[in-house]
Amino acid sequence: MHTFVTVALDGLEFASYLFIVSVGLTVIFGVMRILNVAHGAVYGWGAYVAAIVIGWASAAALPVWAYFVGIGLTSVVVGAAFGLIVYFAFVRRMEGQDEVILLLLTFGLFLALENLSLLVFGGTSHYSFAPVMALGRVTVGGTLRTNYGFSIIGLAALVGVACWYFFDRTRTGRLIRVVIYDREVAETLGVNVNAMQCLTFIGGSVLAALGGAYIAPTISVQPGLGTQIIVMAFAVSVVGGLGSISGAMIGALIIGLLRSVAIHFVPSLELFVIYGVMAAVLLVRPEGLFPPPKARSI
């Protein structure tokens, strides 16, 4: 029972955090057909900046809520800043290029931004456990869990609901879905596709930074963080179907839970499980488990 609860909760926490990072990646791909490798670097920057901001907050002995305000502000500022730079300086200029060329472009940006974070923040690990400590622990099913872990699950649920509301209930969100479905028709109907793309890119980058900022207190923030997460986020998005939000959720749950099972029972299979699942799903369903609807091409 203990093991079951631990495995399930670990998996759920990891899945929540994967979902937050992957949803941005998958939406950017849906709207712009760009598999944005630089997403991983934005995640890393979010984690570094959040660790420092939390450090300041705990040094100034601010109340608990200040940590979360700090995390929120960090992700908005870092995500929007990198989103704007990457979008306007690079992606916008390369419009109409091959998907694969854009993939390589974002790969270059990823290398540069990752290295820049190493230069700015140094090679040492940054720790910021204050928010985890402040929220305390709780016993569930005989195992001791941190409340912060549960708050990640809550945040992922919040992100999921917010995405659903945005894409299903607001005018802008629906217009973005129109762009995903058929870009050219959207353009002829007067949708400002460029504005929608810009909005998506920034929104997606904020989610990447949020993922990094929220996970920062639970890990040691060190170089190479983005390299790990970006391929996992790829795996999640591809398993769920690139461009599909519900797909990202299912993909995150499958990969999060399987990874947790692997870690507890066969630790050496940890990475193998993630990419094995990805390869298996792609082989059986090339478009992923829940591919977004496609306009019929004539």
């Binding site: 598999l35 690079f90 200029r93 390369m94 290029q97 091959d98 998907e99 694969v100 060329i101 993939l103 390589l104 472009l105 790969f107 270059g108 940006l109 990823f110 290398l111 540069a112 931004l113 990752e114 290295n115 820049l116 190493l118 230069l119 390299t227 391929v231 790829f234 795996a235 591809v238 690139l242 630790p267 050496s268 299979l269 940890e270 990475l271 193998f272 993630i274 990419y275 094995g276 990805m278 390869a279 792609l282 082989l283 090339p286 478009e287």
Partner: protein, 346 residues
């Protein structure tokens, strides 16, 4: 004055591979390749000893990029050829450490064969995929190997295994001054053979089909050719080439490890070298390999802590300025010369 004859132009029609003997453009290209390699071989023989390793790494990457270039001509990019690089490199290390085999030729045979075998199995599965899915499925397979290697103590985990320089027909290639020039020459010859193969392949029927696939697969099928077969064979060639590249890379570095050979960033570097060179010629990937290694080792030397930044900026700058690769610049120069000469004659 001789006028341009479309029948002798290798760029038009799939005639080139069907004719008896070699076509004119293929003959010219082969002569150019032989000349370039004669020069390259001489330069690498007289180059200073410290240049041996960079030259061998550049050539290894050139060999891998030659295979990837054939895929790239069909519009396919693999973000997972680190898998084959790893298979080649680890076969050298395993032959070396477990079986005590240090023959370079044995390593090339085993590494090339194992990479080909892996490529054949994965190729069957992968030939249906295109674009981003092709890139990502390759990435998934390579990360499966990476995940396995990182967690296996048998293969040295993240530290990897060390490789001795090996023997060539019984001659020991170890010297106190670094690499034996014979090993350098061997790598040059291997790269030469790969380039010749690529050039001949480009002029074969299947080579032409490879390029047509990028434009329109349906039309290729209407011509009565199998797209699946073409993609599979091209993939197999790229796997073997990358496997051989892995073997010589391991021999020139003297070390194999998952982080710099099998991880997805290593695959990304191979793709960068490929796109850097372009698809314009069989020599383009080798040029890409040399430029890649030049950027990489110069930035490693000058800015040890920020070479990633330099590499990243270089990738972005080259992609944005020259999405068709460096070879397109060379071609433009040659064309400009030819046209200006013609104008004078008229």
């Amino acid at each position: 004055m001789k006028t341009w004859d479309p029948r002798s132009d290798s760029k038009i029609g799939p005639d080139a591979g069907r004719k008896q003997g070699l076509t004119r453009s293929l003959r010219i290209n082969l002569v150019v390749i032989v000349a370039v390699y004669a020069l390259l071989g001489t330069v690498s023989m007289i180059a200073a000893d410290w240049l041996d390793t960079p030259i061998m790494i550049a050539l290894s990457i050139g060999i891998a990029a030659s295979g990837l270039m054939l895929l790239w001509r069909s519009g396919l990019i693999s973000f997972g050829h680190g898998l084959y690089l790893g298979v080649g490199a680890y076969s050298v290390a395993i032959l070396n450490q477990w079986y005590g085999v240090s023959s370079v030729f044995a390593a090339l045979a085993v590494g090339g064969f194992l990479a080909g075998l892996t490529g054949a199995v994965i190729g069957v599965l992968i030939q249906r995929y295109r674009g981003i899915f092709f890139a990502m499925l390759n990435l998934a397979f390579s990360m499966v190997l990476y995940g396995y290697l990182v967690n296996s103590n048998m293969f040295g985990s993240t530290e990897g295994l060390s490789v001795s320089p090996g023997t060539l027909l019984g001659i020991d290639l170890v010297t106190s001054e670094g690499h034996d020039k014979r090993l350098v020459l061997l790598v040059v010859v291997l790269c030469f053979l790969v380039t010749i193969f690529v050039e001949v392949w480009r002029h074969s029927v299947m080579g032409w089909l490879g390029r047509s696939i990028r434009d329109n697969e349906v039309r290729v099928q209407y011509l009565g050719y199998s797209v699946a077969q073409t993609v599979f064979v091209t993939y197999l060639i790229s796997a073997v080439a990358t496997g051989l590249a892995g073997v010589v890379l391991a021999l020139s570095i003297g070390q194999v490890d998952p982080g710099s050979m099998v991880n997805w960033t290593a695959s990304g570097d191979l793709v960068f070298a490929t796109v850097l060179g372009g698809t314009g010629s069989a020599l383009a990937p080798v040029l890409g390999g040399f430029c890649y290694e030049a950027i990489h080792s110069t930035s490693m030397q000058l800015f040890p802590s920020s070479w990633g930044l330099v590499m990243g900026v270089a990738i972005v700058a080259i992609i944005m300025a020259l999405p068709t690769g460096l070879w397109s610049v060379i071609r433009r120069i040659i064309k400009a010369r030819v046209f200006s000469v013609k104008k004078v004659e008229q």
